[in-house]
Amino acid sequence: MLGDKTYVIEYELVSPIAVGKEHILPNLKKGFSADRIVNRVDTEGLPFRKAAEVQEDLNGFIKDEPQHIKEVCCHDRKLELLASCFGIARHRLDTLINLLEPEKTGVIIGVGADVTAFENYEEELLKHLNSGSIPINELFTRINDNGIKLNSVNNPYDLYSIYLAEKFKAAAFQKSVLTACVSSTQAIALGYDAIKNGEAEVVISGGTDSLINLLAIISFGKLGVITESTEEVSCRPFDLHRKGTLAGEAAGFVVLASESFVKEHNLNPVAELLGYGNTLDAYKITAPDPEGLSMTAAVENAINDSKISSNQIDYVLAHGTGTRHNDELELKALEQVLPKGTPISSTKDRHGHAIAAAGIQEFCILLELMKDGYIPKNLNTKNPCQTELDIVREDRQANIKYALTSNFAFGGINTVLAVKNEIDGIRS
C-alpha cells in the first residue's frame, strides 16, 4: 500500500561489541572496547596489528545448519557471521516466519568486497606456484567443489541474501547492495522503499562483512585509513588527534514491516523508520568532496523525507570513523543542518568499522539506545573537534524520540536514516 508506514519489528546483531542484541547495552555501559591485537590472523610484522573482531566461538549458533553450510562457514567469514546472527534469533523468529507470505516478503543484504583469506590456503597455494598452471585458478578450483551451489571461496555476492531468503521463505526478491560502507544502510533504506511502494509487506534488511583477514587489513592499511598499532587506542572519532579507524566485522538484520502487516498481526514494533537521504558526491573516488555538499544534502533529505524538523532530532549516531577526512566533513555536514547542541557520538571506537555491515551494526545499536534512552559517550575522545554540536563526552540518559544514523562510503556515497522511537497509537 503506497504511503504505508514502515516499522522495525525485529533485529539481531553479531558484532565485536555484542554477539546477540541483548549484550549491546551492557557492553556499551561498561565501556567495553574490542580494540586489540588481532587474534584470528597472525599480523606480526605489520604496522596495523589491531582490529575489532568477534572473539566468541560461533559454532553453537550454526549447529543446526546442514553440514555443507557449516563447511562453507569455515571458509567464508561473512556467511559464518550472518548464519550465526540468524542462529541466535532462530527460535524467537519462528512465530513471525509463520506469519510471512513468501511472495510479499523480500530480503536486501549489503555485502562488502570479496577478499580471500590467502593465509588459510598458503600450503595449497604453494603447491601450484611452479606447476606451470595459474596458481589462483588451481587453488580456487581445488577448494570449490565443482557444481555445488555454495562455493567455499569466491562466492557470488547474492549468496548472503539467498541464505536469509531461504530462512524467511522470502520469494518476492533477494537483493544484494554493493555500495561499500553504506551497503547495509542502503539495504535498510531500500527496504523502506519496497514497503512504501507495496513491493513487499515485510523486508529483511541487513548486511555482513569482515575485514579480519590479512589482505583486507593490509589493503585498508595501505589506503591510510587504519590506525597503526603503536597508538594506545585505534579509533578516536571527532578527536583533534584522531589517526584513523579500527578494522572490524559484523553481521546483522532488521525485519521491516508495513503498518498494515503490523496491525493485522497485532505486533509490537520496536521503532518506526521515518525516511532517509541518499546522495553521491560526484567528486573523486579517492576522496570525499571537501565542501561536503552532498553529505549535507543526505542529512537534509533524511529529515525532509521524514517530515520532521531538524530541531526534533534528539541524537545522531554518527559514522564517526576516526579518519581525518570523514569526521571533519561529517561534522561540517551535520552542523549545516542540525541545531547547536545536538548530541552526537560514534561507537566505532568500541566495535570498529565493519564496512558493508557498518550501517546495520549501528542501526541495531541505535535501536537499543532509543529503547533505553541512553546516549553513549565517544569513548576515546579527549580533545574534541571544534563544533557547535555536542560531541558527547559522558554517558547520559535522555529521551530519544527522533534520531539519525549516518554512513558515508568510499567513492562518495552518503546515506542517512531517520528513526522514531515512540510509536503513536500502534503498540498494543
Binding site: L2, D42, E44, G45, V111, A113, D114, V115, F118, L125, L126, L129, G132, S133, I134, P135, I136, N137, E138, F140, T141, R142, N146, G147, I148, K149, L150, N154, P156, Y157, D158, I162, A165, E166, F173, K175, S176, L178, T179, A180, D193, A194, E199, L214, L215, I218, S219, K222, N278, T279, L280, A282, Y283, I285, T286, A409, F410, G411, G412, I413
Partner: protein
C-alpha cells in the same frame, strides 16, 4: 503516467580469448573483452584509469555520451542505479605480486618476515581497485550525477532489480528521469565464481558488456522515445542452499510468450543456450539470444537484451519480452513495447 526508455548507449566485446581455467581440472573457457575507447574526449584521466577495470573506463565514456544527448544539467536531481557483475578482471594479474612473494617462502623463513613480505608486495590501491561501487562512483564523478543511487550485484538478475528500482523511483519520487546501467567484466575471476556454482561444462563462454539507459516518466509519448517499459517481473523463486545441487530449470511461473519476440539469456554454453531457445519457442513466440555472439553477459544480459529488442522493432515485432535466469536459477522478465 507511463515509463519510457528514451536513450541508450552500449559497448560490446570485440576481442575473444580462449584460455585454460585449470590445467589440473582440465577446464577452459572463452571470454570477450571490451576495448575502452582511449581516443574519446571522455576517457578518464591517467591517475583514475590506473585503478579502473575496462568496463568501468568504458562506462565513463558512455555516460558522457548519453548525457550529452540528454542536455543534462549537473544541478538536476537525477538518480543513478547500476548493476554490477564481477569486480576483478584478472585475479591472477591482480594478485601476481602477492603470489610471487609466496614463491620466496622457505621453511627457514619466520612468520613475521613472511607477513612483512606480503605487506610490501600488496598493491597500495588494492582496496580501490576492488571497490564494488567503482562503476557507480566513477560514473558519478565524471558526470555530476549526485542524487539517489545504488549498486546491485552481482548475478545477471541485478539489472532487473535496477530497472525495477528505477520504475519505483519514478513512480514515487519527484524526479522525471533516471539513469540506469549495467557493467559486467569477464575473466578468470568471473569464470571461477560462476563455473564452481553451476558446475563446469565444456564450451563455457562469458563476456564483458556495458550499457546505460535513460528512463523517463511521461503522460504522453516523449519525443524520440525508443520503447515503453510495460513490466518488470521477478520469478518469485527462493533458491535453496539446503539442497546442494542447483536447479536452473525455467520454473515457468511467468508467462514468457505473450510477445512477438523473446530475447533470452542465462546460458553459459551453446548447448544450454539451445535448450533455452527451444523453451522460449515452445511458448509460441520467436526467440533470440545474444549468446552465440558474446556468451553470457552477466549483469549486462538483460540491458543489452533490451537494446537488441529495440533494434529489432519492425512491422511484425511490436512487443519484446527480455527473459533471463541467473546463476541461481532466478528468472526475470522485462516487457517492452514499441512506441
Amino acid at each position: 503516467m507511463k515509463i519510457y526508455i528514451t536513450k541508450y548507449v552500449a559497448s560490446y566485446p570485440t576481442d575473444f580469448k580462449k584460455v585454460i581455467g585449470s590445467k589440473i581440472f582440465r577446464t577452459e573457457f572463452t571470454y570477450g573483452l571490451i576495448e575502452p575507447r582511449r581516443d574519446s574526449e571522455f576517457f578518464p584521466n591517467r591517475s583514475d584509469e590506473k585503478i579502473m577495470r575496462s568496463d568501468v573506463k568504458e562506462a565513463v565514456v558512455l555516460i558522457n555520451e548519453l548525457l550529452r544527448k540528454s542536455n543534462f544539467k549537473s544541478t538536476e536531481r537525477t538518480p543513478l542505479f547500476i548493476a554490477n557483475g564481477a569486480f576483478i578482471e584478472d585475479s591472477n594479474k591482480y594478485l601476481q605480486r602477492v603470489m610471487k612473494v609466496y614463491e620466496t617462502f622457505t621453511d627457514e623463513l619466520g612468520e613475521k618476515e613472511k607477513i612483512h613480505r606480503i605487506y610490501r608486495a600488496c598493491p597500495p590501491l588494492i582496496a580501490l581497485e576492488t571497490l564494488t561501487n567503482s562503476t557507480m562512483s566513477y560514473v558519478a564523478q565524471y558526470s555530476g550525477l549526485k542524487y539517489l543511487n545504488s549498486t546491485f550485484g552481482n548475478t545477471s538478475q541485478s539489472f532487473s532489480l535496477v530497472l525495477k528500482e528505477s520504475l519505483n523511483t519514478l513512480n514515487r519520487d519527484d524526479v522525471d528521469r533516471v539513469i540506469i546501467g549495467a557493467t559486467n567484466c569477464s575473466g578468470n575471476y568471473s569464470f571461477l565464481m560462476n563455473s564452481s556454482v553451476v558446475g563446469y561444462t565444456t564450451g563455457w563462454r562469458e563476456s564483458a558488456g556495458v550499457g546505460l539507459l535513460e528512463v523517463v516518466k511521461s503522460d504522453t509519448i516523449p519525443k524520440g522515445a525508443l520503447c515503453e517499459i510495460k513490466d518488470v517481473k521477478l520469478g518469485l523463486k527462493v533458491p535453496s542452499l539446503t539442497e546442494q545441487k542447483i536447479d536452473r530449470k525455467w520454473n515457468k511461473i511467468a508467462k514468457i510468450g505473450e510477445s512477438d519476440l523473446i530475447i533470452c539469456s542465462g546460458a553459459f554454453t551453446s548447448k544450454e543456450n539451445q535448450k533455452d531457445l527451444e523453451y522460449c519457442e515452445d511458448s509460441g513466440a520467436k526467440s533470440k539470444s545474444l549468446f552465440e555472439s558474446y556468451g553470457n553477459l552477466g549483469s549486462a544480459n538483460s540491458l543489452l537484451g533490451i537494446i537488441e529488442g529495440i533494434q529489432m522493432f519492425d512491422a511484425s515485432i511490436a512487443t519484446v519480452n527480455v527473459v533471463d535466469r541467473d546463476i541461481y536459477g532466478r528468472e526475470s522478465i522485462i516487457k517492452i513495447k514499441k512506441c
